[in-house]
């Protein structure tokens, strides 16, 4: 156990701090990555793209992506990655991205040379944005049952079917998508992973309003949409394997402990600054105790993250400490948002730019979004199945053969 950072890392950290101090005024405010609207694209790079470029040049974004694909070409160093995440979070500055944390690693691992050159550089520059076309009305948790079809016709796949809950499809330039190419194969073996432009004729995007009141996700309909055959990642029928690769990357992104720590600090400030009956909410022992319980959980998850990081640096499989991150981290974030709302009482319910609103209704927004994240990316129940079966070795549910009537 040694929590000191060696000189190399201390230097790296202080350089990064200096960089942030000097340049953070250039960072586009919001932490969320707000993709440019496809219709409203202008010629020059927008502020978000310029920021990303600056981060890549300084080695703070797309670090491990090889130079020939537009990245920094650094050796993977999870500790430096950790320091970057930590310092950006502390400074509350929008971090860079690696194009799309699901698609880009998958293409780099499984794509052809031609695909890497086509897809990776513009993605990491923020000029090619992505949406994930996996879920369908009939196939959510049971993703492998998906039925959107792609049939070969000449040099193309011809896609028919429907996707749903596709986040960001209204803005995205491209989709990575699972389609059934081998209808007669067993369900996991008949799937292929395709990438294509959202401007492809035959694609219709219909916004789907979420409980937050915004249309952050969509339904996407395919009617004879033609995609060239070479836009498949991996082999035909191996899309399930490719997709699991993406899901692995997605799961790791959800439940990030840095976010929880920032959120905790925000609630601490809120409880010190908001008054009830003329007294700070922090003076109320019941609220305070709840905050402390959340702090205990937050710290446990933070140190759990350090443990996972250490395993990864040693190229060991982290096992259980990693399996639980999505389940516990998303739950903790949701609980924290709930705590903030309860501290605000009636004020906490204000929304829609109402007078007296606090933080622009952010806590309600987060409370709902976090519930979405408990469901999306593999529901809490599916996470528990995975923890039970893969980490604890409990037997799977017996398969029930449902015979068609």
């Amino acid at each position: 156990m040694d929590l000191e950072y060696s000189a190399e890392y201390e230097d790296f950290r202080s350089e990064l701090r200096n960089f942030l101090e000097e340049h953070k005024h250039l960072s586009p405010g919001a932490v969320a990555r707000a993709p440019a609207n496809r219709e409203s694209k202008t010629d020059g790079p927008n502020p978000a793209q310029r920021w990303q470029q600056l981060l890549i040049e300084n080695g703070y974004a797309a670090r491990t992506i090889p130079k020939e694909y537009g990245g920094c070409g650094e050796e993977p160093d999870s500790l430096k990655a950790h320091i970057i995440a930590e310092e950006f979070a502390k400074a509350r500055v929008r971090p860079g991205h690696s194009g799309d944390n699901r698609l880009v690693p998958t293409v780099l691992e499984l794509g052809t040379e031609e695909q890497k050159r086509w897809l990776v550089p513009p993605s990491i520059r923020g000029e090619m944005s992505w949406c994930q076309g996996y879920s369908e009305p009939g196939s959510g948790s049971d993703l492998a049952s998906l039925s959107t079809r792609a049939e070969v016709d000449g040099d193309d796949f011809v896609i028919n079917g429907q996707k749903i809950w596709t986040s960001g499809a209204q803005h995205a330039d491209m989709m990575f998508c699972l389609v059934r190419t081998e209808p007669d194969a067993p369900k996991h073996q008949g799937i292929s992973y395709l990438v294509f432009s959202m401007d492809t004729p035959g694609i219709e995007v219909r916004p789907l309003v979420t409980m937050t009141g915004e249309a952050t996700f969509n339904e996407v309909f395919f009617t004879d949409a033609r995609v060239p055959k070479n836009q498949i990642i991996g082999k035909r029928g191996e899309g399930w394997f490719v997709a699991n690769n993406t899901l692995k990357h997605e799961r790791e992104g959800l439940g990030d402990p840095h976010q929880a720590e920032n959120r905790f600090r925000e609630i601490e400030e809120l409880m010190q600054n908001e008054n009830v009956d003329g007294e700070p909410i922090m003076n109320n022992p019941a609220h305070r105790d709840r905050l402390l319980q959340l702090q205990g959980r937050m710290l446990a998850m933070k140190y759990n993250g350090m443990r996972v990081l250490t395993s990864q640096r040693k190229h060991e499989e982290p096992g259980l400490p990693r399996w639980i991150i999505k389940l516990q981290g998303c739950e903790l974030n949701h609980q924290m948002a709930a705590m903030a709302i309860d501290s605000l009482g009636e004020l906490g319910t204000l929304y829609h730019h109402s007078e007296h609103i606090r933080a622009g209704g952010m806590w309600q927004q987060r409370f709902m979004m976090d519930l979405g994240l408990i469901i999306g990316g593999g529901t809490a129940q599916i996470q528990k199945n995975m923890i039970g079966e893969r980490a604890l070795g409990l037997p799977k549910e017996p398969k029930v053969e449902v015979k068609p009537a």
Partner: protein
């Protein structure tokens, strides 16, 4: 940056676990419990041969000179086996206090004997971790008066460490006090009531930062109690997972029912981060002083909450069997419940954490 156990620490855990597997079976625990024996002589002797009582005692005084994380790992193993031996009081609180506050003469007098297992020390800090039913401990020079409740490791103790109301620490030999053992749900550890009636004492420290010193002693104890709960909780989870993989109902292994699988997953998801919290708090005690107290409070409080959750769910996974004396699961359940209340209940400890952060 390396947030992991060293090879030596993994070896230590392995060695202690091997010994406990041999010498602290459930039968041994059950037998000890039936006789109210909380200091199993042969087990204690075997642990002494490994140097366990001297874990935190410097090599200068015949100990092993390890750190709190090592003591926490030992506590985890002892909790995992619901071991009927003194540890938290005699091998953690007392050595930490004597080394922090004792004079050279006092260290020479007490530490080698504690390290060798020749004597054990009961520890009474009750005035400072939620006093009840007591009479505050007062001093008059080198005598102590009052009644301490819930002193730890009292059975057959040769000497008692007591914190007075005004935060002095005194050592009082057993012959000077009246000891009444208290019988809690947990039959694997001894707690008691100690009556001091102008008992002559060896005062450890009567000037300087009395409060700070006492608080540091309590920090160490809290981390180690949390570690004991971690071990006991992990043992219960392991038993639940094993049972869920064997027991059949409706022609299926019950672990294939999601209701059961999800109980196991929830226990694991709650307990696993606790391990990191305990490691961190123990490491902070020695290496990150500015974070030590807060993380000790959180380790104590959070493990109390998760411990109770795991103890209850693991029992449920075992069905009616879990409720029986026959299975013995209740020894772990009760140890976790005693730990929850020792050295400050979760609410009490969190309140301290609020004060530390300037929230009150």
């Amino acid at each position: 940056m390396d947030f992991a156990l060293s090879e030596e620490q993994q070896f230590l855990t392995q060695t202690v676990n091997d010994l406990l597997r041999d010498q602290c079976s459930l039968d041994v625990v059950r037998n000890d419990a039936s006789e109210n024996q909380t200091k199993n002589a042969s087990l204690y002797h075997a642990l002494t041969e490994l140097g366990i009582p001297g874990t935190l005692i410097s090599e200068d005084y015949g100990g092993v000179g390890l750190r709190l994380l090592d003591a926490a790992l030992i506590a985890e193993s002892l909790g995992g086996s619901v071991a009927t031996v003194p540890f938290i009081g005699s091998s953690v609180l007392a050595p930490v206090a004597i080394q922090l506050a004792g004079s050279e003469v006092q260290k020479d007098t007490w530490l080698p004997r504690l390290a060798s297992g020749e004597i054990t020390c009961g520890v009474a800090l009750g005035d400072h971790v939620g006093a009840r039913d007591n009479t505050p401990i007062s001093t008059n020079g080198a005598t102590v008066s009052g009644r301490a409740m819930f002193a730890l490791d009292v059975q057959d103790a040769d000497v008692f460490l007591v914190a007075t109301k005004n935060c002095e620490l005194h050592l009082v030999e057993a012959g000077e006090v009246e000891l009444n053992r208290l019988f809690t749900i947990d039959k694997t550890r001894s707690v008691g009531e100690i009556v001091f009636d102008s008992a002559s004492s060896d005062p450890l420290l009567s000037s300087g930062d009395l409060k700070g010193t006492l608080a540091t002693v309590v920090d160490a104890g809290r981390v180690v109690v949390a570690a004991d709960t971690l071990g006991a909780g992990q043992a219960m989870l392991d038993k639940a997972v094993a049972y869920a993989g064997e027991r059949q109902q409706f022609n299926r292994v019950i672990g294939s029912f999601q209701a059961v699988k999800h109980m196991c997953a929830e226990m694991a998801a709650e307990l696993e981060p606790c391990r990191s919290l305990v490691w961190y708090a123990a490491h902070a005690f020695d290496a990150i002083p500015e974070e030590a107290r807060l993380t000790a409070c959180h380790a104590k409080a959070h493990l109390a909450e998760v411990g109770r959750f795991v103890a209850r769910k693991a029992t449920e996974v075992h069905g009616g069997m879990g409720f029986t004396d026959l299975l013995g699961l209740h020894y772990w359940f009760k140890r976790i419940e005693l730990n929850r209340q020792l050295l400050g209940t979760p609410e009490f400890v969190r309140n301290e954490a609020a004060k530390l952060q300037g929230w009150i």
